[in-house]
């Protein structure tokens, strides 16, 4: 089996995502965060796939380190970051949230 076939088979595997609360495929987990792997991908897939080796091959060592190298952000930290960047977007863009087209 070549790498493409192997990837296709792995991509179709499903697990339950503890963040979303339903089934997702490996294909989703390996590019969940703006095409980068979800930071839980190792925990969720380690018992079924040699996921460290696969992700390093897929995204490269540098991206891998950026995602899994340091301690993950706490939810409060990411909340504060989201507030700061939303404030910047609303101030800069001026448009802010848009209502549904009527």
């Amino acid at each position: 089996m070549n790498a493409q076939d192997i990837l296709a088979r792995m991509d179709a595997l499903e697990t339950r995502c503890p963040k979303l609360g339903h089934q997702v495929t490996f294909e989703y987990c390996r590019q969940e965060s703006l095409k980068r792997p979800c930071s839980r991908a190792l925990v969720c897939w380690n018992h079924r796939l040699p996921v460290e080796m696969i992700l390093k091959k897929l995204v490269g060592e540098e991206t891998y380190e950026a995602v899994f190298g340091g301690p993950p952000k706490s939810r409060v930290e990411s909340l504060m970051e989201a507030i700061e960047s939303a404030k910047q977007r609303c101030n800069a863009g001026g448009s802010g949230p848009r209502e549904a087209p009527s």
Partner: protein, 453 residues
């Protein structure tokens, strides 16, 4: 006939929430603002939360009165019954007595409305017109939709697109309760539009949905954002579960040896356990256990237990095996296992060793959930199955030791909108993968590597 349920009368419903911050042996470390490194100030949170909830977030008052209009709404399904799980006790052949709070009796089917109703009320009295939030599978989104309807607020839910497509019934519930449910990424926010421009087919993620919901609130002075777990005020609202349970157990004349709950963000676990943590701080001998999801190399080896590497929580969790000493955790565990979604209060209690955490693999949790359904009838939410797996383990331990332990746990919700997950389990889609590592390694070593994403 032996007694199965203990009810409280509506007049016996607790009139106050319990705030653990008043009793912590060491105070919570104030969360730091990532931009400034300084403790987060109330005004940092003001663009997204009303000041009355921010006051609760930082309060150290032990008892916080539950407003009358919130009690009135709670009374639609509260006090929730305390059950004895005799069917499971029999199936396990355990001398343990297993009690559970059934939080699945609320209209959306989980503990989530305990805080949704309170948050909608406080936003309403603060003069807010609309709440915005994100949701994955839709448990939280549906609870908030119902709560907003109860207090005449508009509700906008950014639902991760992959979940939106996969969970049509949760979406219908939100719309039935009058909320606007939008698949994320959407064209409603700059954050969403940017993602769509890069990738029109993006399935979305919780991170993107959070960005959209927050931008939606920040950009509209009449709107605020609402979070269904993690924050102190959310855990506070959930303590009604544990306070009711204490009254119900008192009626039976029993006190638990072990109190358990599943922990994603930590809210239902904390809701049941915090009043018992208070007792523990004051000298009671009670073990309090949070059950969380992980992967595990073999099911037969049992779950891992986690500990913080140091008290400042700067190092990742260390995995330790609870059964046997032959398993050496792979190094990747260290980086991956620290749960980034956990409530600061729950993390703090873990550091203080007032509670412990055990982790369970999804195969083990679904096995426990199916065993539960067959013994007790009610089909649990897949999250709840983590608590049930922990209870089964504890009850079997009690059997081995021949001890008549009293176990109390939180049955956080039913699984009727989640039958696809049971289907995946029952049809074998969650079993371990048999594609040999050697084959993967050989394919990757060959000249044609994976296509780049």
């Amino acid at each position: 006939m032996e007694q199965i349920k203990v009810f409280l009368d509506e007049s016996e419903m607790p009139r106050q929430w319990y705030n653990i911050q008043a009793d912590l042996p060491t105070p919570l470390r104030p969360p730091l603002h990532p931009a400034t490194g300084q403790p987060i100030k109330p005004e940092d949170l003001a663009p997204v939360f009303p000041m009355n909830l921010i006051e609760q977030e930082v309060s150290t008052e032990r008892w916080i009165p539950i407003p009358e209009p919130v009690l009135e709404k709670y009374a639609l399904w509260r006090p929730t019954p305390l059950y004895r799980a005799r069917g499971l006790e029999k199936a396990l052949g355990t001398p343990a007595k297993i009690y559970y709070k059934n939080e699945g009796v609320s209209p959306p089917g989980s503990h989530k409305p305990n805080t949704a109703v309170a948050q909608a009320y406080y936003n309403k009295v603060f003069g807010i017109k609309r709440l915005s939030t994100e949701t994955g599978a839709g448990q939280w989104g549906s609870a908030l939709s119902m709560a907003c309807q109860m207090f005449g607020l508009q509700c906008r839910v950014f639902m991760v697109k992959v979940s939106y497509n996969q969970k049509p019934y949760r979406r219908s519930m939100m719309e039935t309760w009058g909320a606007e449910c939008i698949p994320s990424p959407s064209d409603r926010t700059q954050a969403g539009r940017k993602i769509l421009a890069q990738n029109p087919d993006s399935p979305g993620s919780l991170g993107i949905a959070i960005s959209e919901a927050i931008e939606d609130a920040v950009g509209d002075p009449e709107a605020r954002y609402s979070l269904g777990s993690v924050l102190n005020h959310v855990l506070l609202h959930q303590t009604i579960i544990g306070l009711e349970a204490q009254k119900q157990l008192e009626k039976l004349g029993v006190y638990p040896d072990v109190v358990m709950g599943c922990a994603g963000g930590g809210s239902n676990f904390a809701g049941l356990c915090l009043p018992f943590v208070r007792d523990k701080i004051h000298g009671k001998n009670v073990t309090i256990v949070a059950a969380e999801p992980t992967s595990c190399p073999t099911l037969t080896k049992g779950p891992f237990r986690y500990d913080f590497g140091d008290t400042a929580m700067t190092t990742p969790l260390l995995a330790m095996h609870t059964l046997g000493h032959d398993f050496v955790p792979a190094p990747i565990h260290a980086g991956g296992l620290r749960y980034h979604g956990m409530a600061p209060i729950v993390s703090h209690l873990l550091e203080e060793k007032l509670i412990e955490a055990r982790a369970f693999d999804q195969l083990e949790t679904f096995t426990a959930g199916v065993q539960w359904a067959r013994a007790e009838g009610f089909i649990p939410a897949p999250e709840t199955n983590h608590a049930i797996a922990a209870v089964v383990q504890e009850a079997l331990r009690a059997k081995e030791e021949g001890k008549e332990k009293v176990i109390l746990f939180n049955w956080s919700g039913h699984g009727y909108v989640d039958m696809a997950a049971y289907d995946a389990f029952l049809s074998g889609k969650l079993t371990r993968y048999e594609l040999p590592e050697e084959e993967i390694r050989r394919a990757l070593a060959s000249t044609e590597a994976f296509p780049k994403p």
